[in-house]
């Protein structure tokens, strides 16, 4: 169980409203990711759900019970913090057992659950160490262990991977997804990294300035972003935006084409430009094209290696069915259907 419903939830700090009233439903067992740039209110929203901040108005229901005024401990939620927030003076075993000790469980039951959590997270060899003697990834696992022993109705993750290096982050991302599949518990995950959002989520909630811009599955957001912000935020590298005469041809104020929907050619094409920096990743090449007369710079993804040098002329062809159109307010008009 773990269905969380936010009903007109708003939060103000003094006179500043950080989260205008919003509605959101998180279904049982769903992996929901809150994503958005720094300061968009995603962490605040998570803390409101956790009960670490009081909401200014509205209601939060957890499993059909009004949890608006419940204490954090009574909401049956577990949270993994960005800094892991392990207790440095306790061993790993005691850290994981802490919530059980607070709940007054018997020593046997505590031991059994700690052992089970340690098995799941492959921490058995580290149970008697202190957090200070562990690597970042191991600390992360201890923090998750401390969350799972409570058998909560939902897990809350506050940017849990941002303190890890790139390689570990990919590994932990997989582990958390794996854990979600195994436990099938509701998870709410906050991140500013759209790659984490795309790879892990069942449902992505894109936030900007406290407002929900769009809610949907990763591919929904990728294929049909509701506005320019979501279009630019989801997908890597970023979507190219072109305004002016070229956009007007498509009956729009602005058009957007993803780098992977632009075909590059050395000889012929719709748009002409000059190759700037090329980033070679082996599997792909990202070309930054200038002097197209459309936008200061367009990013193009070419498969495999692409041998045009700096300063060479390049031609680009957008895929006709993948041109996103936006009006002057940035609201999507959909993709153009080929006539």
């Amino acid at each position: 169980m773990g269905r969380i419903v936010l009903n007109q939830v708003a939060k103000s700090f003094g006179d500043t409203q950080v989260i205008p009233p919003l509605d959101l439903a998180i279904e049982d067992g769903e992996f929901t990711v809150f994503v958005g740039p720094s300061g968009c209110g995603k962490s605040t929203l998570l803390r409101l759900i956790a009960g670490l901040e009081d909401i200014t108005s509205g209601h939060i229901d957890i499993d059909g019970v009004d949890a608006t005024n419940l204490k954090p401990a009574d909401r049956k939620l577990a949270m993994v913090f960005q800094s892991y927030a392990l207790y440095p003076h306790m061993t790993v075993r005691k850290n994981i057992a802490f919530p059980l000790k607070m709940a007054g469980l018997s020593a046997e039951e505590t031991n059994r659950r700690v052992q089970a959590a340690a098995d799941v997270l492959s921490l058995t060899d580290y149970l008697d160490r202190r957090p200070g003697q562990l690597s970042g990834g191991q600390r992360q696992r201890v923090a998750i262990g401390r969350a799972i022993v409570r058998e909560p109705s939902a897990f809350l993750f506050d940017e849990p991977l941002s303190n890890l290096d790139a390689a570990l982050r990919v590994g932990m991302r997989l582990e958390i997804s794996e854990l979600h599949k195994r436990l099938a518990t509701t998870m709410i995950y906050v991140t500013h990294d759209q790659v984490e959002a795309m790879t892990m989520a069942d449902k992505i909630v894109v936030l900007q300035k406290g407002l929900i811009e769009q809610v949907g599955s990763p591919l929904e957001l990728y294929r049909s972003p509701r506005n320019r912000f979501v279009a630019g935020f989801i997908g890597s590298p970023k979507m190219n935006f072109i305004e002016g005469a070229e956009a007007a041809k498509h009956n729009a104020h602005c058009i957007g084409v993803r780098p992977e929907h632009l075909e590059a050619s050395a000889t012929e094409g719709q748009w002409k430009g000059v190759v700037g920096v090329s980033e070679h990743l082996g599997s792909d090449t990202f070309l930054h094209v200038h002097e197209t007369g459309l936008a200061p710079s367009l990013t193009v993804r070419a498969s495999g290696e692409f041998d045009l040098a700096y300063g060479d002329t390049i031609y680009l062809n957008p895929r006709a069915d993948s041109i996103h159109r936006f009006d002057a307010e940035g609201v999507s008009l959909g993709t153009e259907q080929p006539a």
Partner: protein, 288 residues
């Protein structure tokens, strides 16, 4: 400080300070040791020659010796207990967001800036005087007989006065320690279902243990040698004579430099014994 050259340069630069400090310690220590083996009575014949361990035997066999050691330990222990407990509570209180926090914090440090003599005299005359002290009015208000603080409760009085002086120090160090606690740890424990008291016991107190060790060690060093507070209040009477005060009496009141110096050597030994015990007890806190 990597190269040979910079290391020797560093040593050269530090030399004056090291020499000065060594001189500062070694000269008095040598003189104390030197006089402790002499019969030296400045007003009654001056230097009367070597006497071996005579002074040491006489100092210990004096009926004032063991009571003075006991008094010293009671004062040190009492002040440490009071400042650590109240200091922790005050630090927790001052950590709460409140109006005028800056001013309150400065006011809390204030007693530390008052000279020991002055504060002891203020306590003695303003609060503890049996006739016109504020405490006597308080006691009379409730219909009780005012306490003769200096004579009936001399040790308690001194402990109260010295605690008042050292409380700011403990509070300040513990407050900075509390402020360095990661707030996410507290939030995590809150989510883990720890009540306020359990949070204090399981998270805040262990976090403070290191700062407490520092307070304990520094205060012990200074408290072993308190003198002014006793001098201006009881003058060493009514069982308030510490080892330091006994040495003072031997040297200046009885004009027996040799005997006092022997006492000084005992004081050094006592301080070291206390220090070793403390380091043993709290040492494991420091090498974390």
């Amino acid at each position: 400080m990597a190269t040979q050259h910079s290391r020797s340069a560093a040593r050269f630069m530090m030399a004056p300070a090291v020499v000065l400090l060594l001189g500062w310690m070694l000269v008095p220590l040598t003189m104390t040791l030197y006089f402790s083996f002499k019969k030296y009575l400045p007003l009654r014949g001056g230097d009367l020659g070597w006497v071996g361990f005579d002074n040491y035997v006489r100092f210990v066999s004096s009926s004032s010796f063991w009571p003075s050691v006991q008094t010293t330990l009671v004062i040190v222990g009492g002040v440490l207990a009071i400042t650590l407990v109240l200091g922790t509570l005050l630090a927790l209180l001052l950590d709460q967001p409140m109006w005028g926090q800056g001013i309150v914090r400065i006011l809390v440090i204030a007693p530390f800036f008052v000279m020991p003599t002055v504060s002891a005299l203020i306590w003695k005359n303003m609060f503890m005087d049996p006739n016109y002290g504020l405490f006597s009015y308080l006691w009379e208000f409730f219909g009780a007989e005012p306490i003769q603080w200096m004579s009936q409760a001399s040790l308690t009085s001194i402990v109260i006065i010295v605690s008042w002086q050292w409380l700011p120090f403990a509070t300040l160090i513990l407050l900075t320690a509390i402020q360095s606690l990661d707030s996410e740890q507290l939030e995590a424990s809150e989510m883990d279902g720890a009540t306020t008291i359990k949070r204090f016991w399981h998270i805040i107190l262990p976090h403070l243990s290191r700062a407490m060790t520092v307070v304990l060690l520094i205060q012990t060093i200074f408290l072993l040698s308190i003198f002014a507070e006793i001098f201006v209040t009881t003058g060493g009477a009514f069982g308030s004579k510490t080892l330091t005060y006994l040495i003072f009496q031997r040297v200046l009141e009885s004009q027996n430099v040799g005997l006092g110096s022997a006492g000084g050597v005992y004081a050094i030994i006592l301080a070291n014994i206390v220090a070793i015990f403390l380091m043993r007890i709290v040492g494991k806190n420091l090498d974390k």
